[in-house]
Symmetry: C2
Amino acid sequence: MKKITIGEASRQSGVKVPTIRYYESIGLLPQLNRSEGNQRSYEAADLRRLAFIRHARELGFEVEAIRTLLILQDDPHQPCASADAIAKARLVEVEQRIRSLTALKAELELMVEGCGHGRVDQCRVIEVLADHGQCSHAQH
Amino acid sequence: MKKITIGEASRQSGVKVPTIRYYESIGLLPQLNRSEGNQRSYEAADLRRLAFIRHARELGFEVEAIRTLLILQDDPHQPCASADAIAKARLVEVEQRIRSLTALKAELELMVEGCGHGRVDQCRVIEVLADHGQCSHAQH
DNA sequence: TCTTGCACCTCTAGTCACTAGAGGATGTAG
DNA sequence: CTACATCCTCTAGTGACTAGAGGTGCAAGA
C-alpha cells in the first residue's frame, strides 16, 4: 500500500487540508498512522470515510448527525431506524427552509420590481424594509 | 416623551435585549442617551431603526449590507442604485439557495423512501451517503 | 551534497451573528 | 424597606470551519 499524504487525500476527496485536520481533531476521522516525519498517512478506508463525511455535509447534515451516522455505518448489524430518523428530520428542515426562502424570494422580487431607480426617498427597497406591513407574505 | 427602556424596545421590536445591545456595539444603532442610572433610553426613531434592521435580517441581509442600507436611508437624496443592487444580489442568492435545497430535497426523499427499516447494511440512507455516485442529481 | 521550495506540522485566533452567564447596579411595587 | 425584576458591563461560547505564524520534512534539480 502506497502512502497517501493529506494533500493527496484532500485532492481525492475535495475536502480542504485544514478541514481534514479539523475533522480528525473533533473525532470524525480516527487518529491516523504517522510516517517517520510525523506526517499523516491515509489509506483507502480513510478516504471512503472522508467521502462519506463530505457528502453528508453537502446534504446539510450537522457534524453531530454525521457522527451518529458514522457510528451506524461502522456497525452494519444495528437497526437503521436512527439513520432513517436523522434523514427524515433533515428532510423536514429542508422543506421548511425552501418554503421560507420562497416567501422571501417573492418579497425581494416585489422590492426590486418596485424600485424606480430614482432616489432613495422613492425607493421601494428601503421603504419596504422600513415597514414590514407592506409585505405581501407576512410569514417571515 | 416617555422613556422607553431596552426591555420595552425589545418587546415592541421583537429583537432580544442582548441583540439590541449587540447592534449598538457594532454601530448599527447610534450611541444612545442614557438616563441617570446609566440605562439606555429609546425614542420612536430608534424603534423604527430597530424594526428596519430586524426586517432586513429576516430577509437574510447580512449586517454589512444592512449598514449600507441604513446609510442610504439616512440620506434620502442619494440615488438608490446601491439599495437596488444589494436587494438584487440577495435575490440571486436566495434563488440559488432554493435551487440547491430543492435538489437536496429530492435526494433526501429518495434516501428515506429507499430505507427498508431493516438493518444498517441494507439501509439506503447510509449507502447513498457513502457513495455520491448514487445521487440522481449530482449538483451538490 | 547542497539548496530551493513546496508540503507538512502545531497552535492560536478570527469569522458571523449572535447567545449565555457572571457579577453587580438600578428601579419599582408592595 | 425589602423583594425582585430589570438593567449594566464584560468575557466566553456557539458551529464549522479559515487564516496565519512559526517551524519541520522531503523530493528534485544544480
